[in-house]
């Protein structure tokens, strides 16, 4: 697949825009997935994923064709995600207690979902819980966990993508795993 991508990128470098559509098609799900897991919100994820592809296109001339394109693309995407997370105003958390109420938090403000068949609710709930717990991780742990267990990158690839030493990546994965274990142990 990398060879196909490289061929398309060479075409893009010559200025052929249509060749880029195929590159987007190949990576769109993966990039979207990273963004979604990092941001926890489809709308924002789409925004950032598109931005990532746009940046990659504009800066394609700075991409070293000898390297893996996915690594480069994921780096752009993860950087954009982190920027977005940092820029976001610390909006109210669902866990926060609502002022003037006694022990009521934002969860109780959300109307219960419309009825779905029992099984759907269960699997949907589990998905939501896991995503919520991933979202709670500090972003540096969240990033490595997403790349490792959702994108299934190797430790080396993660180290390349994030431009971090392998040792740092390992430490972050260990801590991320421990943090998630604490959060998910009663699920």
């Amino acid at each position: 697949m990398e060879t196909v991508v490289k061929k398309r990128i060479k075409q893009v470098l010559k200025g052929d825009q249509d060749a880029y559509a195929e590159v987007v098609e190949i990576y769109k799900d993966k990039v979207f997935q990273i963004c979604y897991r990092m941001l926890g919100n489809r709308h924002e994820a789409e925004d950032i994923a598109q931005e990532a592809f746009l940046r990659a296109y504009v800066n394609i001339s700075s991409f070293n064709i000898e390297l893996k394109f996915s690594t480069w693309l994921y780096r752009i995407a993860t950087n954009l995600c982190i920027d977005r997370i940092r820029k976001k105003k610390p909006d109210y958390y669902l866990d926060a207690e609502v002022a003037g109420t006694d022990g009521l938090n934002m969860y109780s403000q959300i109307p219960s979902d419309t009825r779905l068949p029992e099984e759907d609710v269960e699997s949907l709930e589990l998905q939501e819980i896991i995503q919520r717990e991933i979202s709670k991780l500090p972003e540096k742990y969240r990033l490595v966990i997403v790349l490792k267990y959702i994108e299934e990158l190797s430790l080396n690839e993660i180290s390349e993508t994030l431009d971090l030493p392998l040792g740092t990546v390992k430490t972050r994965i260990h801590r991320g795993r421990e943090a998630l274990r604490n959060q998910l142990r009663y699920v």
Binding site: Q33, I130, Y149
Partner: protein, 218 residues
């Protein structure tokens, strides 16, 4: 019971698939005896399984289209190049036409020398070709870059390129007589048209000849 700190580290080494045989042995031995660590290890593995189980979500429809729509406009040149790549036949045809036009136009410009088809009884004087009185010229007569004066008779077609037919009154009058058609080619487009006609005639002739050959074979 206080467990050695490195046991947790070994667990992570194991999960990263980077554990040495020695450490793995140690880990296994410890896990068999320590309920607490067993539990810890189990929870870690469950966490990973849960994270991995989150169904792989897909990008929304039209994702690619909306990315493509946002890209800066490409240079016009590339669009033209791609058009040529996608329409090779048209490209070849137009290239052929351009080259052919070029060669025809240059040949029109270049040859200003008088040339006449080879019939023995045609008389050439300066830029004039004369069909003498009383003579009958057999076959088609072609005159290039010169005038043709007809006093006698031509048994065939007459073509004059870049010149004229002098015949007193228009062609058929007086003594001059032409049995076939008379054609004057002067403007450049007529010249090209004449060439194309000629070429297609030749092609048809070739096919006819083939047909005749095959007929003969039968």
């Amino acid at each position: 019971m206080k467990c050695p700190a490195e046991i947790i580290l070994y667990m992570h080494e194991y999960l990263d698939e980077e554990i040495s045989a020695e450490h793995e042995k140690e880990l296994r031995a410890h896990l068999q005896n320590c309920k607490e660590c067993q539990n810890h290890f189990h929870e870690l593995k469950k966490t990973i399984a849960l994270v991995q189980s989150t169904s792989h979500i897909q990008a929304p429809d039209h994702f690619t289209a909306s990315v493509m729509a946002k890209l800066p406009k490409e240079r016009h040149k590339v669009g033209v190049q791609r058009w040529f790549r996608q329409h090779p036949l048209l490209t070849a045809a137009s290239l052929f036409l351009i080259l052919m036009m070029g060669s025809l136009i240059s040949s029109w410009d270049q040859d200003h020398q008088l040339s006449v088809s080879k019939q023995p009884n045609l008389v050439v004087q300066n830029d004039k070709v004369i069909v003498p009185e009383g003579e009958v010229v057999k076959g088609d007569v072609v005159v290039k870059n010169g005038k043709l004066e007809i006093h006698g008779e031509i048994d065939g077609d007459v073509t004059v390129i870049n010149g004229e037919v002098i015949n007193g009154e228009q062609y058929m009058a007086s003594a001059g007589k032409v049995t076939g058609e008379i054609e004057e080619v002067n403007a450049i487009f007529e010249w090209i048209w004449f060439h194309i006609k000629n070429a297609s005639k030749e092609i048809i002739n070739v096919f006819d000849a083939d047909d005749k050959d095959t007929d003969k074979e039968k």
